[in-house]
Structures are given as C-alpha cells and as structure tokens.
C-alpha cells in the first residue's frame, strides 16, 4: 500500500508538472493585486452573438456583455424575475395578448468603432425590434427562434417572406411596435406564459444594427452590448478577457435574499454599486485535470469538482480538512438539468425502430453511470423534466429505464435484430474531452452486451453542435440545462416545430405530443397544466426519442477570497455580483 502511495504520488507530481508547464504557458500569472475574477468554461467558445447563444458556455460569457429586458433576482429562491434593461415589469392587457414594456432611460451601447466617433449611442425600443427580427431572419439560421415561433403577431409571416426575399428589415410587424424610444409593445397570437422568461434569455438581448452592419459575419467575434463588461480580448480556444464597461447604466447589489443568505454573508454588500471586479477572465479548459490543478493553484476562482478528484475532496457532503484549511468553500446545488442520449429520429433504422430504442434503453445501466461518472451526484432521470421544476414527479414510471439485459434482448429480437444480427455499426457523437470519451466508451460497452456496435466520433464542441444543427448525427450524448424555471423549456426540445436547426436536435415529431404542447403553452402554471405535462411525459416514454440519464447535482468549490457567490444554473450573469477580497487572497494564496 505504501508503495502504491509513493508510486501514485510520484506519478501525480510528474503529470501535474507537465500540465502546469502547459497551462502556465497559456495563462499568465494574475497577480494577487489585480481585481479580477478567474473563471473557466469547460468547452471551446463558439462566439458571442446572442442569437447563437444556445449553449451554457456562450451564455456564461455573453451574459456579462449583453443584457436582455429582464433578469433573475440574484439571491431569491425560487427564482424571481426583475427588470434589467426594462424600467419595470411589463403591463399586460386583460386577455394576456398585449404586453407593454418600458425601457430604462440612458442605457448606452458599449463604445465601439461601429458608432460615430466610437461612442456608444442610447438604446431604444427599436433596437429590440431589430434584434428580434434578426433572430427570426431565416438567413441567420439562429437556433433561438423557438422563443418567438408562432407567438408574435406577424413575425412568422415576416420570416416566411424574408425566406422568399419578399420582405426587409424596414417592414412593420404588427406584433412588435415601438410607439416611442422607451416603449415596446408586444402583441401575441395567443397567450404565452413563458414570454417574460424568454425575455430574460440572451437570445432576446438587443444588439446595435450599426455593429451588425459593420462587422457582418464577424459580429459573432465583436460583441457590442449594454452590459457591465465588454470584450477586451479573445484568444480562440484559450481565453476570453472581459473588462469593466465604463458606460454601463449601473446596478445595485440586492438588499434581500432567501432565508439564510444573511448568515452566509451574502448581504454584506447590500445596496452597493455593481460590479465589484475590474476584469473577468474565462479560460477555455476542456480537460478536468488542468482545470482542477489551476484551481488548486489559485489561478481559477470557482470550479465544479471533477469526478476523479471527488472522493479525495468530499465525503458525506463535507469538504476534506485539507481543503477547508486552504480556505476553500463548497456549495452543493441541485441542477435543473437532464443528461441524455438522443437518437436522430430521421435515421432510417434508429429513428424508425421503436423496439430497437427500447432495447437500447433497457441495456443502459444508469446506476453505474451515476456512480462511475458523477460519484453519485445526481438522480436517475426517468423523463426530461428535472427535480425542482413543475411537472417533475419522483414516482413517475419509465418501464424502459430498468437495467435488464434479458428484456433488452427480447426487444431487440422484436425489433428484427436478434443478438444485434443485421444491424450496421452506428456512430455515436460526443465531444473530445477524456471524460466525454470515457462516457462514450461506457455506452459502447452497454450496447456491446446486446450485440450492437457503435463507433465513437469525438469532436470539439462547436463541431459537435454543428453536426446536430445539420441533422448529421445518428446518436449522441448531451445535456440540457434549464433556461428558465418551467418544464416547457425541456418539453420544447421535443416539439415538432423546433426540429434542427432548432433545439429539437432529435428531430422528434409526434402530432399528439405537439397538440398537448400547444395546449399547455396557453395555460398558466396550474394543476391542469401539470396533468398535460404528465401526458406528454407518457408519450415521450412510449416513443423514446431519447434515453434520459441523470439529473445532476453540482458540487462547486470556490476560494475563500470569493465573496457573494451563490449558484443557480439558470443565472449566468453572476460575475457582476462577485467580489474578490484581495487581502484575503494574498493571505490564502500562500497556503496553496
């Protein structure tokens, strides 16, 4: 055993040194004096254009640069919307079809060469109309149009005409009006209870026409928003540096939160001007170990504990003494998300053979997956809807989620491929980190037990998402994290009108499911709506366009010098609330 230890220590030192060599090379030492928040994103950033912000990584960065009408209260739970660019919450007509939103005065776009003399101009209601047309413009192929699809009067018609070249951005749209610079009126085709939620998403954030015109296709690399930070530099596949935006309209740290926030010291900065840091850095670190080692060296401030470091860091939801001595803090959060394996329903075999999908589902050993890759951090997912969201039911039954090879084999026989005979090799798409590859290998083994062969195609995150958009993937592993606290956000992933390039990458279409989805959209949160969600879950289980895997729990570690940190997966723009205590950092850094 001692020999084991010595060996492993030597080896750790060796690997650690080699990694440090690599990572030190790319991340210059941030001196303890600099007021900077060092973050990591776990995939390569695609770009920073709100209409393409369909993944967690882009949203993390974009939320600091762009601002939609609303945001979530940083501390209150359950989540609560509050105005951001809007001056107040909207007023709605009695029928719920007309919504009037007032916009704060004096909000300026960040200074940029796109404007005369490089000075950012005032944001007006027209900028929203322009930006939303841009989202709807079929030429832009945004994956975010689903937020308005079929919901705003005249927008879909305009979109169709644009597709045929019969319309222009000058055309008026009945459902989007700006009577004056500070007023925006939205007219809906039918009640849409998620409207305010989607107006808090980056897809709906305003962009200036001047910058889009100036930069064209390069606009994705030249963000010009109204947010607290602006882009300083982006070294592709390495890091994004954001600096304080001197012309930001300002904001105050919240003075109330949920119970216990005060005791946790989360209200110390109540009422103070935001943001607290001068600079925010997002390093793109795909592999777990360099990210962890950078964190342990104090070069990153916040990290989710990687699977291979979990057992030595945490036991019984408590941090090890070694780590608490270094001043580290742990936050455990039930994430509103679901990981799953999806099938491309357009695939002539996988998409058309229900029994085959059932067999694959029955052969998937989720409990081992949960243990091996998540250290038990999460729960077995039976449907797309995660805990904490209306429509989640822990007693829900999914008969194909038991791990039963014998049953799986029977279904495979019914599918017409006894013992996998006659099936071609399928391609399983994933991303190229070591952990993603190991998870893909796990799937490969589960299916091999049935006689089904899969080939693993690992690519970078941007390539992977392109493949989904272009309907080129056969089966793949992915996760969805809530954009807003409503089950509709998960169910829209399966809505027939949202097929690729929309968010329904599985290209699943079921008429009954779509009818129920449309019916639920018109309903406010109510038992009646929950019943419809349940029916939709039943249809999902019958068709199995995906195999839901895990609803995750995040174990987030952060350094003792980070103040005001509170996690919620839906809130992305937390950087402006965080304070880096430099005195504390100087002290604690010595212990690392």
């Amino acid at each position: 055993m001692n020999l084991n230890r010595t060996f492993s220590r030597l080896a750790i030192v060796f690997v650690a040194l080699s990694f440090l060599g690599i990572t030190l090379g790319c991340t210059k030492k941030n001196s303890a004096k600099e007021n900077v928040l060092n973050n990591a994103i776990t995939a390569n950033l695609k770009g920073m254009d709100p209409i393409y912000a369909n993944d967690a990584y882009s949203n993390q960065v974009i939320s600091n640069i762009y601002e939609p009408l609303f945001e979530y209260h940083y501390l209150k739970r359950p989540l609560e919307l509050q105005p951001l660019v809007a001056s107040a919450m909207p007023t709605a007509s009695k029928d719920g079809l007309t919504h009037t939103i007032k916009i704060k005065k004096g909000i300026k776009f960040q200074d940029d060469e796109a404007f005369p003399e490089g000075k950012g101009r005032d944001l007006t209601a027209k900028d929203f109309i322009y930006s939303w047309k841009r989202l709807a413009d079929p030429a832009n192929q945004s994956d975010g149009f689903w937020i308005f699809d079929g919901k705003i009067k005249g927008l879909n018609e305009w979109r169709e005409k644009m597709g045929k070249g019969e319309a222009s951005y000058e055309d008026e749209i009945e459902g989007l009006q700006a009577p004056d610079d500070e007023t925006l009126v939205i007219k809906l085709t039918k009640p849409y209870f998620q409207l305010y939620y989607v107006l808090a998403m980056n897809y709906s954030a305003p962009v200036p026409k001047e910058a889009v015109d100036k930069y064209g296709k390069e606009f994705i690399n030249h963000p010009v928003g109204t947010g607290p930070f602006k882009l300083d530099s982006w070294t592709r596949n390495s890091k994004v540096v954001l600096v304080k935006n001197p012309t930001w309209h300002g904001g105050k740290y919240p003075s109330e939160g949920e119970e216990g926030d005060d005791a946790r010291g989360l209200l110390k900065d109540a009422g103070k001007d935001l943001p607290f840091v001068d600079k925010v850095v997002y390093s793109e670190i795909i592999e777990d170990q360099p990210r962890w080692l950078n964190f342990m060296k104090g070069k990153l401030d916040i990290v989710i504990i990687p699977k291979d470091n979990f057992d030595t860091s945490v036991s019984g939801d408590k941090l090890s003494k070694d780590l608490t001595d270094k001043g580290l803090k742990l936050e455990i959060n039930e994430e509103p998300d679901v990981t799953y394996m999806a099938f491309n329903m357009l695939d002539p075999i996988l998409g058309k053979n229900l029994e085959l999908r059932r067999a694959i589902s029955l052969a998937t050993d989720t409990n081992t997956l949960l243990e091996r890759f998540y250290n038990g951090r999460g729960v077995n997912a039976l449907s797309p809807i995660p805990p904490g969201i209306d429509g989640y039911d822990k007693d829900f039954k999914n008969p194909y989620k038991e791990f039963n090879i014998e049953k799986a084999k029977e279904h495979l026989k019914k599918a017409g491929y006894p013992d996998g005979k006659g099936l071609p090799e399928f391609e399983y798409s994933t991303t190229n980190s070591t952990t993603a590859r190991q998870m893909a290998e796990y799937t490969q083994q589960n299916l091999a037990a049935l006689g089904i062969k899969i080939r693993i195609a690992a690519t970078s995150w941007p390539q992977f998402t392109d493949k989904l958009r272009e309907k080129k993937a056969q089966m793949w592993g992915i996760a969805w994290s809530a954009d807003y606290p409503d089950a509709e956000n998960f169910l829209q992933l399966l809505y027939g009108k949202n097929v690729s390039p929309g968010p329904n990458s599985a290209n699943y279409v079921n008429k009954k499911f779509d009818e129920l989805y449309e019916k639920a959209l018109k309903l406010p949160p109510s038992p009646e709506r929950t019943v419809i969600y349940k029916q939709m879950k039943e249809i999902f289980v019958q068709d199995l366009p995906w195999i839901p895997n895990i609803h995750r729990k995040a174990y987030v570690l952060y350094h003792g010098w980070i103040e005001n940190y509170k996690r919620h997966a839906i809130i992305n723009g937390e950087a402006k609330y965080i304070r880096v205590n430099l005195n504390q950092k100087a002290k604690l850094a010595e212990k690392l």
């Binding site: 080896a11 750790i12 777990d288 170990q289 057992d311 070591t434 952990t435 590859r437 290998e441």
Partner: protein, 291 residues
C-alpha cells in the same frame, strides 16, 4: 529483386549477421522484439489475454492483485490484458505507418537522387516545404481532419514522416549513381528502372532498414501521443496512448497501474528496437567493418 540482393550483399549481410550474433545486447533485443510480435499475433488471434474487453462494473480501479497483476481500469477490465492487446495496435501502427513512410521516402528519394536535375529540385522543394511544418503539428492536423481510427492513423503517420527517409535515400543514390557498377549496368543496356531497383537499391538496403526501424519507434510514439490527445485509435480499442490518457485523470485518485502497465510495455519495446537498431547500424556500417 531478392536474388540480386543476395548476389550483391552476401558478404556484407553475412558479416553483419555474424557480428549481431556476437553482440549479446542485440540478441536479447532481437528476442524481445520477437516476443512482442508473438504476443501481438496471439492477442490478435484472441488466444491469450482474451479478457481484455471483459467489462466488470463491480470491480473498477482494483489495485494489482494475484487475479489482476496490473489491477483493473475504470470499467473493471484487466489492465495487463489491455496493455498486451495494446501491443497489437502499436505493432500495426509501427509496421504499417513506418512501412508506408519508408516506401514513399525511398521511392521519392531514389527518383530524386538518381535523376537529379529538375526531378531532384522538385522533390527537394516538396519535402523541404513539408519539413518546415513541425512534424507533430502536421500529424495532429492530418488526424484532426481525417478523424480517429487505426487506418487513418497509419496513413497519417506514413504520409507525414517520410522526409527523413527520403533525404537519406536521395543522398545515398547521389553517391551510388556514379559508381562503376552502375556505369557497367548502363553500358550493358539496363533501363533506368532496372538500375534504380535492381542495382542501386539493394546497396542502400541496410540504410533503409535502419531508417525503417527508427521510423518504427517514432510511429509507436506518435500513436501514443495522438491517442493521448484523442486523435489516435478509435475509443474502445486497446491502446497504450489511450491508457495513458485515462491515467491523467486516474492518477489523482491514486490509480497508477494503468500508466505503469502502458509505460512498461512501451518502454521495453522501444528500448529493444532502439538497441537492436544500433547493433544493426554498427554491424552494417562499412567504416566499422574491420573493427
């Protein structure tokens, strides 16, 4: 072709074999290489270490024991068996990758050295250009475009690593083409192809052999590096690079045996090849012939 080689090189080769036989390190290295080839053959035929893909999720990350000499991996698979099967991948990549690069290098080098002039300039320009791109970057770029897999890996290594062979063969051909035996062949009416392949080539064979075996070692290392980077063999295929790639995560949980097994297997193969290669070079070097 072989007959010509025999008639021309008997004394050199016989001499070389005699010298190698006397060199104990060379003999041991030779048998180690043979043992590796034997192991790879047996593994490829699924006669030994048949448990290499046997998943047992109840025993992940087991430390070395009498049941599993090198412990088990993430999926409870026997690490020793996986390392043994990694030999197959390595040897295939070594032989095919290095073989391909030697083939391309020799052919182009022979043409350039033999014909000289415009042909030489063209080929020299081509390989100089290629050589300006750092080898590993070129290899990574090629693998990135063509995707993972054993075939593309061999192709990538073959197509990117021939410059050294080419240069060597070219200079040797320049040296040889003016020699009397080549002039003799010319006066007897031998065609260009005959002079290149039947007359000069056998005289450069010892160099090509050494160059091949250096390429072999480098191909094995390239496979490991590419698999480590996720650009090598397809996931699921036993490979030392893949084992080392897994190890970079596993080490922090104290699992060292995957790294150890892959390294030990690779170490002895590379060492044996390098030592044997040295011996062959010494034995066939005309300058050292009398020593």
């Amino acid at each position: 072709m072989t007959s010509a080689q025999n008639t021309q090189g008997r004394s050199l080769w016989a001499d070389a074999i005699r010298k190698i036989k006397k060199n104990r390190i060379a003999v041991v290295s030779f048998w180690i290489i043979i043992a590796y080839i034997g192991l790879a053959a047996l593994c490829a035929m699924d006669l030994v270490f048949t448990s290499y893909s046997l998943v047992d999720n109840t025993i992940p990350y087991q430390a070395p024991s009498s049941a599993h000499w090198f412990g088990t991996d993430l999926f409870g698979r026997d690490v020793l068996a996986r390392a043994a099967h990694g030999t197959v991948t390595s040897l295939i990549v070594g032989f095919v990758g290095a073989g391909l690069s030697v083939l391309i290098g020799t052919l182009l080098g022979a043409l350039a050295g033999y014909f000289g002039g415009l042909v030489d300039e063209l080929i020299t320009w081509f390989y100089s250009t290629l050589d300006n791109i750092p080898y590993i970057l070129l290899l990574v770029a090629f693998s990135f475009v063509s995707g993972p897999g054993l075939k593309t890996l061999c192709l990538a290594i073959g197509l990117t690593s021939w410059v050294g062979h080419c240069r060597l063969v070219r200079s040797e051909f320049i040296k040889q083409r003016g020699q009397e035996y080549v002039q003799g062949a010319f006066s007897m009416g031998a065609s260009h192809a005959r002079r290149i392949f039947v007359h000069i080539l056998p005289n450069t064979l010892h160099l090509i052999l050494i160059s091949f075996s250096l390429g072999f070692v480098s191909a094995i290392k390239s496979e490991v590096i590419l698999s480590y980077l996720g650009l090598g063999v397809e996931p699921g295929t036993p490979s030392w690079g893949m084992m080392i790639s897994d190890a970079k995560l596993e080490l922090s949980r104290g699992v060292w045996w995957g790294l150890a097994a892959a390294t030990v297997f690779m170490f002895f193969l590379v060492l044996a090849f390098t030592l044997f290669n040295d011996a062959v070079r010494d034995a066939t070097d005309p300058k050292l012939r009398d020593k």
